[in-house]
């Protein structure tokens, strides 16, 4: 007998793809809305189209790569201090 709770919504790869699809659609929607809203930034470039999207994406990608470099420097075995 199969254990209970074995398969849930996210177990099917089709559903996972579907979730991702809606996620990508929402991203595109956000970019489209961005073109039509009134802007009141404190800095001029803050009002450039897609500024936040670009900054968020580049920021997070660089975050990962810097973290990978950092890991090379600071990673030690779990019993390092013992």
């Amino acid at each position: 007998m199969k254990p209970k709770h074995e398969l849930t919504f996210l177990d099917s790869s089709q559903n996972r793809r579907r979730v991702r699809k809606y996620f990508y659609i929402s991203l595109v929607l956000l970019l489209v809305i961005d073109l039509f809203i009134p802007k009141h930034g404190h800095f001029a470039w803050e009002e450039a189209p897609f500024f936040f999207a670009t900054y968020g994406f580049i920021g997070c990608v660089s975050l990962i790569f810097i973290a990978k470099v950092l890991r090379l420097l600071v990673k030690r075995k779990e019993d390092y201090y013992d």
């Binding site: 849930t8 897609f50 936040f52 900054y55 968020g56 075995k77």
Partner: protein, 589 residues
Amino acid sequence: MIEPVPPEVILMVGALLVPILKGRLKDFYMLLLPVLAFVDLLYMPSGKYWIVPFLNYDLIFGRVDKLSMVFGYVFVLITFIGIIYALHVKDNAQHMAALVYAGAALGVTFAGDLISLFIFWEILAISSVFLVLARKTTESSAAALRYFMWHFLGGLCLLAGIIFYVLKRGTAEFAYIGLDDPATYLIFIGFCLNAVVFPLHAWLPDAYPRATVTGAVFMSALTTKSAVYILARTFPGTPILIWAGAFMTCFPIFYAVIANDMRRVLSYSLINQVGFMVCGIGIGTQLAINGVVAHAFCHIVYKALLFMSTGAVLHMTGKIRATDLGGLHKTMPFTAVCCMIGAASISAFPLFSGFISKSMTVTAVAEAHQVIVWLMLLFASAGVFHHAGIKVPYFIFFGHDSGIRSKEPPVNMRIAMAMAAFICIFLGVYPAPLYNILPFPVDFQPYTAFHVIGMLQLLMFGALAFTILILAGYYPAELRAINLDTDWFVRLPAKRFVLFCQIPLKRFFEFLDHCVMSAVGVFKSSPRWAVTTENGADKLFHIRLASIPDIIYTWTRYLKTEIKQLSLNLTYILVPFILLLFILLYLTK
């Protein structure tokens, strides 16, 4: 008319009765304490009162204004939620330590002079040590000791600063201090250690992940936020805090991305969030201070929620490392939802509490035209979503299926999580109740199309980066490893020192011993003398001197076994001490 008492007395004295009571009555009693403290807060008028003359100075236990009141409210609120979360715990010492700890945080909040502030500051440090010790593993005992040493260091700096300050000014009262002479620098360092300002932050990611499941909830709320309060009170508008805060928002996110222990990830994100507050204190405008206070309020609730939901996982599965977890949403959906609400709040998603508070600080930074700092905060906002917002729920509840099928946590834990989750959403949707109790009048509208879309873009495209990197396999793998932090500079020399004592120092003494014994050999010409001297030297070196390390060892061994019972004893010593202080207060009125 009810006469209010200092709220810390209710919690601290109340803690004394906890071991006497049993079962439902004890649960009810412990929940009643924060409720009483809350009612007490409502009856406390603004102003300065409860003044006790002490030596030549006045101890002020009631400095009540809007700033201290907000922190009073939120500390009492989180104590209530924390106690519900901890109701299943049978260990009385933990309950007492938590109550005294919460009382000390209230004491710090309402202290109007540096001497009473220092007393509560130390109680805060000591009582929280027991929440780490109570985990009762070798690892946690060692971490508790290090935690204590750090706070001891901060406390000594603060004490030295206070003594200089009081001698110079002639009064122990304080309001705005500001950096101008060595005394204020020492006080500043003492405060900064508790506010986890780099490089004095390493105690937090060391101790919090090793605290007990329920203790970490209190710890995440009280120590750092009382330090934020005190910094906002004494050092607003100090330029160095702007940069210190901005740096604090950025560097922990790298550590959080590569940390394996989920509560360590949360600890780093705690530093990141306190960074926003420290930065706001550095700006020091009305909007900034409002932002700091609002953010501290929301942060306490959502950070406690995150610690509660990860703690529930640790409680049920006994595991907390990302490498051991995954796929838990199947059997713990409620905990997963609570965790995601906390994650959405800390990431400042619109309609969650982080959004209505963090944006105030960020706007204040923009209004002060600090372009680089503003960009750093924006980067940190995206980064916090990355690790606390996605990484924590993803690796625990989704990700690879670890095969663990544990049940939902006990009902008291679920109630506590539900309450915190409700507050997160309620304040996000309807911030007016929070805005009304802030220290300055609020003229701030978080929900403009520009804010909402900007923030959503920032977060969602950060999520896109996560998705792409995970799918491409570039995301840093979960590894069983630790990452060095600034405490390396303290811990490594300490370890080296012990090694130095064990090997070279011992060799050196053996060498000295050898020299002395050969010198004694010179007397061999006269056998009687030789025997007497040799016996004398033998006695001195091998019995008298050699017994010193033995004695020290016996003492420390005694301490080592004693320290396990220490929590109860010390609480009993502490509480009468505080009680005495307050009896003095009423006698002298």
